[in-house]
Subunit: 409 residues, 2 copies
């Protein structure tokens, strides 16, 4: 008698972005004349750059010719791409061997799957607010306990508050935890952790034998040279942290699909030797995954060429110019806003007494602008709202114009 995994019933609500899509669809059906301006999901909008396009075309053409056709590749990714990543980190002063890199089809799969290699009774700490996938993947695999509607929290998780007061970077957990998800530049708050802030967590992790799962998906959006772009810039991090990243936001690969996870050989947990955790992730990927598309990997290679890096950085600059337009727009209206400087997200405070979802509905109905309710990222996001800088320039400008003209504050 088959039964379902009852953990799914513990999920608090529909996954955030499908829920936004549903509300938007309903609104559009009732208001077909309204032109929607989407600053919700962090979805890239600009064309792939010429270098990347040529790499992808080469990838396709390779498969069209029996002499260069390839089938299954290594589950860990192509050796040359892993080497290119190792070289890229090296160019930033971080020494990691190519065997520490595991290519995947994106940061979302990796950040949801990484928990698989750790004990099912691990105590998990998440920033609050945080990218919902960290929580939901641990709910489904049974580490989160039960959801309390009043608190908006799972009783089995440790929530690390990210507030205006602490600059949206949390204090260390008061109790011992085993797995710590950190995201910097942060989605959704746009806050970027300093060396000192990360150092505290690395020291905590080493002392408590915890593992930091560091999501660096927005690292290329950091322009301030004093801010760390990788957890491995922090002394001692290789022994207690792994890092997840992707080309989604750097090179417009949201739909193309390519990410990677760095598991340093040095990373150890209770009872393991160096290399053992890395082997576990290797084993996990070899069993549940069959490698990223060889076409996509060929395209990814070109991102790390001189032309590819230059073009990708221009793409990042374009989106960061959008962020500036959003920041200036909301500040002109007297709205309190954070982020948006070294991150493509603007984190605004909703007007006094307005809940995040009420503000979502208000913004949508009054201005046609779609954003993301802060509470969708956890209870600590209540009273906040995320605007994404990913969009065509004219749409960003139209959105800010509509907010300026139509939002009733």
């Amino acid at each position: 008698m088959a039964e379902i995994n009852s953990n799914y019933k513990k999920l608090a609500a529909g996954y955030l972005f499908p829920e936004i899509a549903r509300r938007t669809r309903e609104f559009q059906e009732k208001n077909p004349e309204m032109i929607l301006k989407k600053l919700g999901i962090g979805n890239t909008t600009e064309a792939l750059t010429p270098a990347v396009v040529s790499g992808l075309i080469k990838g396709v053409n390779n498969l069209a010719d029996p002499a260069t056709y390839s089938g299954y590749g290594d589950e860990q990714g192509n050796t040359n791409l892993r080497q290119a990543l190792s070289d890229y980190y090296s160019s930033k002063g971080i020494a990691l061997s190519r065997s520490d890199f595991f290519i995947s089809d994106g940061a979302k799969p990796d950040s949801s799957n990484i928990q698989s290699i750790f004990s099912s009774d691990s105590i998990v700490a998440v920033q609050d607010p945080a990218y919902p996938v960290y929580v939901d993947s641990n709910v489904i695999t049974g580490r989160a306990g039960n959801y309390s509607v009043e608190k908006g929290e799972y009783d089995g998780l440790v929530y690390m508050q990210c507030t205006e007061e602490n600059g949206f970077f949390p204090e260390l957990p008061k109790n011992k935890v085993d797995l710590i998800y950190l995201c910097s530049p942060n989605n959704p708050t746009g806050a970027v952790a300093t060396h000192e802030q990360l150092k505290k967590f690395v020291d905590y992790a080493k002392e408590n034998k915890a593992v930091i799962i560091f999501d660096a998906a927005y690292s290329e959006y950091i322009s301030d040279k004093d801010l760390p772009r990788s957890i491995f810039e922090i002394e001692g991090a290789k022994e207690c942290a792994l890092e997840i990243n992707s080309l989604s936001k750097f090179a417009g690969f949201t739909g193309v699909r390519l990410g990677w996870t760095v598991v340093p050989e040095e990373l150890v947990v209770e009872g393991t030797e160096p290399g053992e955790i890395r082997n576990l992730w290797n084993r996990r990927q070899s069993t549940f995954f069959n490698g990223a598309s060889n076409i996509v990997q060929e395209g990814a290679m070109t991102v790390f060429s001189e032309a590819g890096l230059k073009e990708s950085r221009e793409l990042v600059n374009f989106y960061m110019e959008n962020a500036k337009i959003i920041m200036n727009g909301v500040k002109d209206l007297g709205i309190t806003a954070y982020g948006g400087v070294n991150a493509p997200y603007v984190w605004i405070k909703t007007p006094e007494g307005t809940s995040s979802w009420d503000f979502f509905d208000k913004l949508l109905s009054e201005t046609g602008v779609i954003g993301t309710p802060g509470s969708g990222f956890g209870p600590g996001g209540e009273g906040f709202f995320r605007l994404s800088a990913f969009g065509h320039r004219e749409d960003i400008e139209a959105a800010m114009e509509s907010i300026k003209e139509n939002l009733k504050l």
Copy 2:
């Protein structure tokens, strides 16, 4: 204090194909002059067909143009591709709505991940021998119990023997089981289940409220019109089965990466309403997956065009001609062999008293041919050996020539 998921320690051995790669590499290093002929892993070797290449190029070009660029798609896959799949099944007399189809990056991820939606104490039945992923994914997620080296079995799994006597299709489990993995055409034995054989399992599943996980990855290799290509050809299957398939073997997508899982709305288990299981898989994919590459989905669309289907079928015929050459070659040597008619695998009986791995080493050292040891697919595979029909014609011919000339029987 973080700890590892101790289930990984229960895995019996390295995943089969990496182990073959390791032994092969070691042999080649010691014998650099030997030309290896790979009939091991079921990896396609022929170029993508013109229709598919044009679809993939279109997919890349779409992303090069801001007017047609797309980022994140639906986690479930593009609507038009889901519709094309629904239409394709419909053309074979199987009515399924496009909402029943979930596009993924391959059959391996789906067949390893599908267990996530079922209870962790589900009793799992597998064919013995079977594709190792069914077992390993359940070991890692804690359903398989402990491994006995003597028996070569996990004490928590139900092994359904596939032997010469039963034509490599199992009897019904004697005890109640909850999840039943069936693969037809079978990897590794090449056996194809009849309507009657599948009907028995469907009746069992309905009576015992079990779920059949049907792996149809080789369905396009069936030429015999009387054999079922989908579990959904069997009356009542929609209420008790889901089906996994991919373009890897049909259209040479092993490295391109595209598969799908069909979860019919009608599928129910204890305590669920119609549609609920389908929603669970939807929720699983929305949390752990971010959609197949939009480039790859564009290429997949063309497989279901008139030209694409014609070309893909020619590709299948090419590999099946290889299968015929292998079958004839081994039979000429007096070796007992199965499969190879409606499936791209030839399942040979190793010479009296030779274990599967010993035969692997013997075949490699004497002939340079790489195959797959039957015992790698479970204890029931001991004494057998798989030869794959995926290869260039000249390599298949050279392999059979070398076996004929050099194998000491």
